[in-house]
Symmetry: C2
Subunit: 406 residues, 2 copies
């Protein structure tokens, strides 16, 4: 028996280029398949819901909802906020007040922790509600998933950038002889590893890749760079923002800590640039793409965008089939040709649990990735998303988040 | 009477995404219109020519030459090298030896200095040779040009990145409230200013733009950021790598100097990020695109690419029409519709001479640009270059620079 009532969708954590494909999948599928209630958006994630910042999505223009498929950023805004015990009681009261029986939370590991707590809080309060996690993270570290929606697009952008800046380095290496690209991904090296997709043949960039999965040694790094430089006359290095020393401490931190207690990282690329200049004595450059790697919809992966939509649509199917307390996953069912379907996993198994790059996919010298990684990642970056252009730039949509406020 | 002999083309300085359009224009036009001799490439600019690193371009595959139209980096490699008096004598002997009567040099201000010196050295030696400068620079600082080939593409990429990362900032401003993007352009703020093309309406990113044309004040910067943050809850800042203090000294340098005596700049973005965090007490992020902004052919401007080809083709026309000692320029002949043709200027007027953003195009508060700038820059970023894709990434060509060595 289908539970009658309303639904709510919200986003949390850092956006991916295709995160809005997932909420578009949720919203369009809800309006198509639920013949009761409406679907609300919690503006700025759980924090917004707690503040009563909720809108009815049926007031939005259909073309704007459809435009979420090619628009980066968090379309209904996001937050980083850890719910307290008091928050949870307050939250359930708000959900009850609006007769919300379907709760869709779109985010990464921390967000699934929030979704799980919401699931438990509703249960404790005797409020019958379906809670479904909709996965997202460019970091690709969600466990029980072949890969995470968002990863393919960020990987594609990073690989293209490494190919382009690698060709640049090679063609002007009379001056700056080393280029260092710093990639996101706190404790999992998936995005850093994606740079390897750029290499078409020996000697093409990148030459060295350092992941956070293996302790970083300054001495090994410097001798690696020197060896490549001696051989080619230049060297392209890709490094994770989250590299650690032998004791497991981050090599470079800014000292501040986020709401979930995660150390804020900064300056890895520029620190290594200075290290190369001071200790090897050759000029280096550092490229730090920063938030561009999680918002570059102008060069997103079609495969990734379609899968991000699929997990959103499937979340609604699951909820309407009375599933709850689970996150939708992606399961690879075939390698050649690449095929992927959805599965599910209990939220508590995902919450605060990270999937790292297998050590067997990292070379023995700990400075590159193996062909197993390439075979794994290649299908995820295939195809391009068509983005409407206006005045020479991508013409992204904006929902009117002041409309339909309840 | 047309001077019979061979031609040579070479590239110098940092590449632009479309720099190879210009040499493609030179090479294809030469093969089409000169019914004598051949055209050589000097590998790695003047430095390569001096070392005898020269190839005959008729040995290259036609499809590879054509592929230069969508390939970033310097296709025949580049250098940063200041020629000495001894070099000039040696150079003319090499040119004579290979009966080189046409010399095409593709680069920016410093490169035009090299081209001018080559012109004078040949004249002094009584070697009759046409010398034509083919302009290129993402910095847009070549004088006597409405704009420089390369600028439109870098401007388009920066504006798209600011739009995307601006939407990202706005949608997750519960955490990092300030984003700082550091743009290239040592002493001219054209690329930094290009970020303004991203803004479609009030309050959209960017909010503050700091150019090197006006002295940077830390106090004004902090109060500007605080004012925007107070108003919106977040703030997007774009800053030139070359901002200077009241005395005209660079605010942030790495201390090293290049072959032309230019100070190497680094760390402006990260320094301002730390300033915002320490002095205002809110979290900030810094994006430093680095060499990505001069090589992002995956999102280049079609207008720019076509004009870069045009200046290359026109260089050959000029040389065959017995012009010499000049650089090809771009002249805007109409605003609506935008139209642009080629002109010429004496090399010595271009050499080491920079065109800056007019002060009248910078707001009185010195923290943004005016609509005059927008009207000037908008046509330059229109249209997209189609790049062949393979395995999910741009499939750029490579000339075989070992083939046809003379």
């Amino acid at each position: 028996m289908v539970l009658k009532g309303n639904a709510i969708v919200a986003q949390s954590g850092g956006p991916s280029p295709v995160i809005n494909n997932s909420i578009c999948g949720v919203i369009q599928t809800w309006f198509k398949e639920a013949d009761f209630g409406t679907i609300y958006a919690g503006i700025s994630g759980i924090k917004g819901i707690l503040e009563g910042n909720i809108i009815d999505l049926k007031e939005q223009r259909e073309e704007d909802i459809a435009g979420l498929r090619y628009t980066p950023g968090a379309g209904i805004f996001s937050c980083r906020y850890k719910v307290s015990d008091d928050d949870q009681i307050k939250l359930v009261n708000i959900l009850k007040k609006h007769n919300i029986r379907y709760f869709f939370y779109n985010g990464g590991n921390d967000s699934m922790d929030t979704a799980h707590k919401t699931f438990l809080a509703a249960q404790d309060a005797g409020w019958d509600m379906r809670v479904i996690g909709v996965p997202k993270t460019i970091d690709n570290d969600l466990p029980f998933c072949d890969h995470s929606p968002g990863y393919g697009s960020a990987a594609k952008y990073i690989a293209a950038t490494v190919r382009e800046t690698g060709i640049d380095l090679e063609s002007v290496s009379t001056k700056n002889k080393v280029t260092i690209l710093e990639a996101m991904g706190r404790d999992a090296g998936w995005l850093t590893a994606a740079a390897a997709l750029a290499k078409r043949f020996d000697n093409e960039a990148p030459h060295l890749i350092y992941l956070p999965e293996v302790a970083f040694s300054k001495e090994r790094f410097l001798s690696d760079v020197e060896a490549v430089y001696k051989d080619l006359g230049y060297c392209y290095v890709v490094v994770s923002e989250g590299i650690t020393n032998e004791k497991g401490e981050y090599c470079f931190t800014s000292g501040s800590v986020d709401a979930f207690g995660h150390m804020q990282l900064s300056g890895v690329g520029i620190s290594l640039k200075e290290m190369v200049e001071n200790e090897i004595g050759i000029n280096a450059r550092c490229n730090t793409l920063g938030t561009a790697q999680r918002s570059a919809m102008h060069f997103a992966s079609k495969t990734d965008a379609d899968e991000a939509y699929m997990v959103g649509a499937e979340a609604v199917h699951y909820a309407l089939a009375d599933k709850s307390g689970v996150m939708v996953t992606l399961e690879r069912t075939s390698d050649a040709p690449y095929k992927c379907t959805c599965g599910e996993v209990a939220l508590d198994l995902v919450a605060n649990n990270e999937q790292k790059v297998p050590l067997s996919w990292i070379t023995k010298q700990a400075n590159y990735v193996t062909d197993e990684f390439i075979n794994y990642a290649r299908p995820l970056i295939l195809g391009e998303v068509e983005v409407p252009m206006k005045d020479g730039l991508p013409d992204y949509v904006r929902l009117d988040l002041t409309k339909g406020r309840i």
